[in-house]
Amino acid sequence: MRHLLSINDLSATGAIGILDTATELARINDGQVKKLPTLRGRTIVNLFAEDSTRTRISFEAAAKRLSADVINFSAKGSSLSKGESLKDTAQTLQAMGADAVVIRHPASGAAQRLADLEWMSGSVINAGDGTHEHPSQALLDAFTIRKHLGKGASDLAGLRIAIVGDVLHSRVARSNVLLLSMLGADVVLIAPPTLLPVGVESWPATISYDFDSVIPNVDAIMMLRVQQERMTDLFFPNSREYSRYFGLNSERMSAMAKHAIVMHPGPMNRGLEIAADVADSARSVIVEQVTNGVNVRMAILYVLLAGGPLEVGSN
């Protein structure tokens, strides 16, 4: 595997290989050594054409812990905000000898274009493209779910996971539906009909408009961020009504199964899609998702650039 553009680039075995590698790296990280020499001398470029603090920092930390040289290339103040084309940017990075480009871009398909057009020879890792996919987020979510609910299994068979909110515009939802279903989980999407895409019936997931009826029967609830601009574009009457039907508050949380967890890819709108006391509750694994993100992104870089998954139990 050269690129990670979509969950469709992975088989179940390949995905589990990344999760297992992340588990191993986490084990090593919890010990004395924070930094591995694996990618010494390799250059990884973080090409962020869209604002993102947590994903960029997460990839940067992952690359540095593998001893890679990291170049950050952000939209603001760079040539990307001055109308330079993706093609010219890519050729510049190629000329600088980038071994991998981690790209975040507002246009769906930008990562695939970068990879397909052979503008550069390195690996391309999609860190979120428009409303298409965000595969590293899905992998860290699967990692988190497996850690809490997996009972030692390598996949997610038998688990039922709800993804709630703005599915229409969510790259996190698209990648998670593909990955979680591939790993054997039942995925249920919960949203107002306006925030589900036409064609969603073809996805490997079931649909519900009724959050309350689903809550007692799921092992994890993944809340999606509601963007401010959705408020003014007729998707729902107002934020209070949205919260009333699709927000996760403490009352709804109390209807969850005892073992069930609450997730959110961040950044959260506290009080809109998730109540503050839910976000800060014992069920919430939101902060841990961030921690796991670094290990999973290390695993992605490891698998793509060091030639394959790490063997379990290695040092």
């Binding site: 507002p106 246009a107 769906s108 398909g109 409303t131 790259r171 064609g199 969603v200 073809s202």
Partner: protein, 434 residues
């Protein structure tokens, strides 16, 4: 008048019996089983099909304004390469073709290029803004004799503007060619709304956005008893509405593009903007409905919607890219592949859909005539047994945005005659037309 004499040997007129055909003095001088003419250049076209010169009712020539992507001259040559003897220059140039001055300029450039007739289409509204009518009467009375009016690229959305335009062109039996796209349902839309768009995260372009305008406009055309033409129909639902309207006696005609007869929205999986087009590629079900409609006459004509774009507007992210694909040089091969080889149309049907019917809609004099002795010699020859491979680096158009790069297409256009003058012989364009 052309002094050239050509003797076409053994071609099949509209796919019928093989015979000889003599072109002289700009006209078809003789047609019979065996002709001899010492002075004529003899061209052996045994096994090939002779068609009337093709007429395109929907072409973007980009001049004036975007001569970096196409000019009237380069499009004329691309048209001749594809077997066309007449093109219709869409009005969305810069400046817009909304005055007699612009349409006369485009018409004159076509005459100067000399490869075919360029019939300008006038804008319905000033600046294509959909607000005030353009100088429709002045364009109709100009040297360019404009009869087709369109804001193509934009929909004439305001129903009152559309009503007035339909009424106004009745004075000279003109026609309004509508780009049917409800604007509010297609804000920032990128591709057909359906299963593929849901997966790709590209904003959907619902079929209803096209169908709602078609439905409104056939009713308006009925009410004011005017001629309406629907540009580039793409949906099965749109076909149903037009079929209903025709059964009711409404004066509506419709076109389909070659690409909508062949290509489907799953091509967007590549995110390659060469497949980004307005209106968008639809589903297999729509493609099959369009072929059926072209076969049974619900859709009257094939029009290319040839839309050249420079590489920098296509060599980028999908959402940033321009809409459109070139199509003049591949149109007849695509129609052969989708309609003739599938048994849905015979060659007489192709001649109707690609020559006589569009010429009639546009009132284009001397085009789309029957291939009989005395007719003006606008003639296209296609060898249906030869296939060819499309290479975007070898196209005649100034732009390279063909969606068929690498496709092997059946049927090679070998000869084109424009008013008796050869514009292409043995698939080689003339340097200039004499």
């Amino acid at each position: 008048m052309s002094q050239q004499r050509f003797l076409l040997r053994g071609g099949k007129v509209l796919g019928g019996q093989a015979s000889d055909l003599l072109i002289a003095n700009g006209r078809i001088e003789a047609m019979s089983a065996s002709i001899s003419d010492e002075a004529a250049t003899v061209l052996d076209i045994k096994g090939s099909i002779i068609l009337p010169g093709l007429v395109d009712l929907h072409t973007h020539l980009r001049e004036p304004g975007r001569e970096d992507s196409e000019t009237v001259a380069s499009a004329s040559r691309a048209g001749a390469k594809g077997g066309f003897t007449a093109l219709s220059a869409m009005a969305n140039t810069s400046p817009v073709a909304d005055t007699a001055g612009v349409v006369e300029q485009v018409y004159r450039l076509g005459q100067e290029a000399g490869f075919l007739d360029v019939f300008p289409i006038g804008a319905v509204t000033q600046g294509l803004k959909g607000e005030q009518l353009s100088e429709i009467g002045a364009m109709a009375d100009s040297v360019a004799r404009v009869r087709v009016f369109s804001d193509d690229g934009n929909c004439v959305f305001d129903p009152m503007v559309m009503r007035r335009a339909l009424e106004y062109v009745k004075k000279f039996d003109g026609v309004i060619a509508q780009h049917a796209q409800e604007p509010r349902l297609t804000v920032d839309s990128q591709m057909n709304e359906g299963i593929i768009s849901s997966k790709l995260g590209l904003k959907g372009w619902p079929a209803i956005a096209e169908e709602a305008i078609i439905a409104r406009d056939v009713l308006l055309a009925e009410h004011v008893q005017s001629r309406l033409h629907i540009c580039h129909v793409t949906t099965a639902g749109g076909v149903e509405i037009i079929r209903w309207a025709k059964a009711r006696g409404i004066q509506v005609t419709a076109e389909v593009t070659p690409h909508h007869l062949l290509l489907t929205d799953d091509l967007a999986n590549s995110y390659d903007p060469v497949f980004k087009v307005n209106p968008p590629l639809r589903t297999t079900k729509d493609v099959m409905a369009l072929r059926e409609a072209l076969s049974d006459g619900t859709i009257d004509i094939v029009a290319t919607d040839h839309a050249p774009h420079t590489s920098e507007t296509k060599d980028c992210e999908w959402a940033e890219a321009s809409f459109g694909m070139i199509g003049l040089e591949t149109a007849l091969s695509i129609v052969n592949k989708t309609m003739v080889e599938s048994g849905l149309l015979d060659w007489a049907g192709v001649a109707h859909r690609m020559s006589s019917a569009p010429a009639k809609i546009g009132h284009y004099p001397n085009h789309g005539q029957n291939l009989t002795v005395g007719s003006v010699a606008h003639i296209t020859v296609i060898n249906p047994t030869k296939s060819w491979i499309v290479d975007r680096d070898l196209v005649v158009s100034k732009s390279r945005n063909t969606p068929y790069h690498g496709y092997e297409l059946p049927g090679l256009v070998t000869h084109t005659f424009f008013g008796g003058r050869a514009t292409m012989i043995d698939s080689k364009l003339m340097d200039k037309v004499v």
